[in-house]
């Protein structure tokens, strides 16, 4: 029988993979992909809690749909930024993106 714990373990694993990707990858596109993984881990969490804890109430589902919409927008902006930076720097390596320091 598959219970809540399985979903939580899946989403936790997925979140950690995403976090590692976001923190350790050098390619900006890969970082965005890591972020997507983390967001989807959260979505699994939300839907799982909605199914097992608050059965019959659709708040978790609706929230997950919102997260998907926001994530789509965020990726659009993020990709646009990366394309703009790439045109300037001919690079998508985040080690080169250090202009925000003093």
């Amino acid at each position: 029988m598959i219970g809540l714990e399985h979903f939580l373990i899946l989403s936790g694993t997925l979140f950690c993979i995403g976090l590692f990707g976001a923190l350790a990858k050098r390619n900006a596109i890969a970082i965005l992909m890591g972020l997507e993984l983390m967001l989807n881990a959260v979505n699994i969490n939300l839907v799982a809690f909605a199914r097992y804890v608050t059965t019959g109430i659709l708040t978790g589902h609706v929230f997950a749909i919102f997260v998907i919409a926001v994530a789509a927008a965020e990726v659009a902006v993020g990709l646009a930024l990366i394309v703009a930076i790439y045109r300037d720097r001919i690079s998508v390596n985040v080690d080169d993106f250090d202009w925000l320091k003093w």
Binding site: L19, A22, A24, I31, V94, L100, K101, W102
Partner: protein, 650 residues
């Protein structure tokens, strides 16, 4: 007319003020018109002053105790009321007459002396401004108004000493005069403030009533009041060229000669004497202050006279003579005699301005070459100057019946009386002898100059001296008349003479002390004869005398090295102190300020390394922060305050 003058005495300083504005703003390009306006204004002031004088004399001694006072409130706030106005009493009436007369004479004299000068109009403008300031000072009913005009005459003095500003020495002399007198004025202002704080008023009449019973009104001790008087006296020390602030007065001779006659002989420099005379009650209440004034005066008189003996420029000799005579006046005031001080001030103004104008006439004739050893034999070339100058010399030497005789003997008399008094008898006895010696020295150095300049053969044939024009000769004649007869108003045989009007306290009929008269006359005549013996007849070589007394001669010729001492003090002590304070400012004060700034900078340069600019570092720190927060929230006591601070839930 007399009544009008008495009640409208404020017009007397106002007329020259109007003349000043007219000349300065409108008629500056027209020198003749400027001179006309200046002379007319001061002449009208003089006429008014004469009528004021007549009015005061006609009123008898009624104005002595109850001066005619008209005031308007200048400004008022709680605890402080400052008035401006006019106070007419015999002392101020006498000063009005004297100042306006000498100013008028100098204005006329300048027509000839300043003829052709590029800044002729400016000269008349400044003369008018000076006349306004001095007349305003004289009629001041309170110490603050006096102080305001006191500073104004100081400004005029500065402007007129530096009148020929293209000369380096004139510029320097003007600065020296201003700075030196300002040093004293600091004390004067402090003294005035102390009086205001303690007595709550600066009005001369009110102060005159309060000060004798000062213990009723204030909690000052005798020592405290003595200190106030001594601080106040610093102003007169600076303005009236008393030792040790006399150094500016001889240098002030860089100005045009009419200015020296008006400002640095007859009027402005006596402002200090006048101020002490006006506040004499303050000094009289505390005998210590009186003795201080008397000693400073007596010492300055002798000190300056010994310098004057060896100087080689007419105006320098006259300047030191002025310092010496001002000391004489201070001595009389210090001996408690307003009459003596003011009487000598009155007569001195005439014969000293006469001699300055005479010296100006000589300088004019000798193309402004100041060295008296180039003169000689001017008697034949300049008879009017010669005779008027002789009158001036006789007057200052104190020969009967010239003006100086009466006033000088009056001073010797009051000092002698003071030496029989209860307090400081020894000091006054010493001062009496110092004054007597000074009188002899005065006669000597005056006639030394007289014989060198006017007698003998011309030493330098390249000069072609000529007699002064009418505009310059006329004031000489007028002033010499006053130098001859001016003393009679205070002569012992006059029933209600000078001392009846200008006095403080009860009237004492001037007594005759034959011992003083005989001794001072013998000393004066002896000194004149000695001067004739050395410089007129040349029986003894003056060069040999100078050789014989070389150390004394050198000290006197170099004015006791006072200027050098001041320079040394300024270069070493003052500059050294300045350097020490500069070092303190640069290292300690700036060090602290810069240190604080640098500390922040160093701290920042360390902390800014946290900002790597790498996005992933920020993200890592952010995540670590979240992890730490979650850990705290899971392990901390759920009821602790720190949890709620972190936004946790119970």
């Amino acid at each position: 007319m007399i009544d009008f003058a008495l009640h409208n005495a404020w017009l007397i300083p106002l007329l020259p003020a109007i003349a000043f504005l007219l000349i300065f703003l409108v008629f500056r390009p027209l020198p003749k018109v400027s001179a006309f306006i200046g002379i007319t204004a001061i002449f009208l002031s003089f006429v008014l002053a004469v009528h004021v004088g007549i009015g005061v004399i006609q009123a008898g001694d009624q104005f002595v105790e109850h001066p005619l006072k008209q005031v308007v409130t200048w400004f008022e706030m709680s605890g402080l009321k400052i008035e401006m106005g006019v106070q007419i009493d015999p002392t101020s009436a006498m000063m009005l007459f004297m100042v306006s007369l000498v100013a008028l004479m100098v204005n006329i004299y300048s027509l000839g002396y300043m003829h052709g000068d590029q800044a002729f109009s400016r000269f008349y403008a400044f003369l008018a401004l000076f006349a306004m300031s001095m007349l305003g000072l004289v009629i001041a009913p309170n110490l603050l108004q006096m102080f305001v005009f006191w500073e104004l005459v100081g400004l005029c003095s500065y402007l007129l000493i530096g009148f020929w500003w293209h000369k380096y020495s004139a510029r320097e002399a003007a600065k020296k005069a201003f700075i030196t007198t300002r040093t004293g004025d600091f004390g004067l202002l402090l003294g005035i403030l102390l009086l205001q704080i303690n007595f709550g008023t600066l009005d001369l009449m009110t102060l005159g009533e309060m000060i004798p019973n000062f213990q009723e009104y204030t909690n000052l001790s005798v020592g405290g009041l003595t200190a106030i008087a001594a601080i106040l006296f610093l102003g007169p020390i600076g303005k009236s060229g008393q030792f040790p602030l006399h150094v500016w007065l001889p240098d002030a001779m860089e100005g045009p000669t009419p200015v020296s006659a008006l400002i640095h002989a007859a009027t402005m420099v006596v402002a200090g004497v006048y101020l002490v005379g006006r506040s004499l009650i303050l000094f009289q209440t505390v005998p210590g202050a009186m003795a201080f004034v008397a000693f400073m005066g007596g010492f300055t008189a002798l000190f300056a006279a010994t310098i004057a003996i060896t100087q080689t420029e007419m105006k320098k000799i006259l300047a030191y003579s002025t310092v010496s005579q001002l000391g004489y006046m201070m001595l009389a005031l210090g001996a408690g005699s307003l009459t003596g001080g003011m009487f000598h001030l009155f007569t001195h103004a005439f014969f000293k301005s006469l001699m300055f104008l005479g010296a100006g006439s000589v300088l004019h004739a000798m193309n402004n070459d100041a060295d008296i050893w180039k003169y000689g034999g001017l008697k034949k070339k300049m008879p009017i100057t010669y005779w008027t100058f002789l009158i001036g010399c006789l007057a200052i030497a104190g020969i009967f019946p010239f003006a100086g005789f009466f006033s000088k003997d009056e001073i010797l008399l009051v000092v002698k009386e003071a030496s029989h008094g209860a307090q400081f008898a020894g000091l006054y006895t010493l001062l009496f002898w110092m004054a007597t010696i000074t009188a002899a020295l005065t006669a000597f150095y005056m006639f030394r100059m007289f014989f060198i300049c006017f007698h003998g053969e011309p030493r330098d044939k390249s000069f072609h001296p000529h007699e002064a024009p009418f505009s310059m000769a006329f004031p000489l004649v007028v002033l010499s008349i006053f130098s001859i007869f001016g003393g009679f108003i205070g002569a012992p045989w006059v029933e209600h003479g000078f001392g009846y009007y200008v006095r403080l306290g009860e009237y004492h009929h001037p007594s005759v002390d034959w011992a003083i008269i005989i001794v001072s006359t013998i000393l004066a005549l002896g000194s004149i004869f000695l001067a004739y013996w050395i410089y007129g007849k040349k029986a003894v070589s003056h060069e040999a005398l100078a050789q014989k007394f070389a150390p004394l001669y050198k000290i006197s010729f170099n004015k006791y090295y006072i200027d050098e001492i001041y320079l040394w003090l300024i270069h070493n002590v003052l500059d050294g102190l300045g350097r020490a304070l500069w070092w303190f400012d640069i290292t300690v004060v700036d060090g602290i300020i810069n240190g604080i700034g640098n500390a922040a900078k160093i701290l920042g340069s360390i902390l800014r390394r946290v900002q790597t600019g790498k996005l992933q570092h920020y993200a890592l720190v952010l995540f670590a922060g979240v992890v730490i927060l979650v850990l705290i929230m899971s392990f901390a006591d759920t009821s602790s305050a720190s949890l709620s601070l972190l936004g946790g839930v119970r």
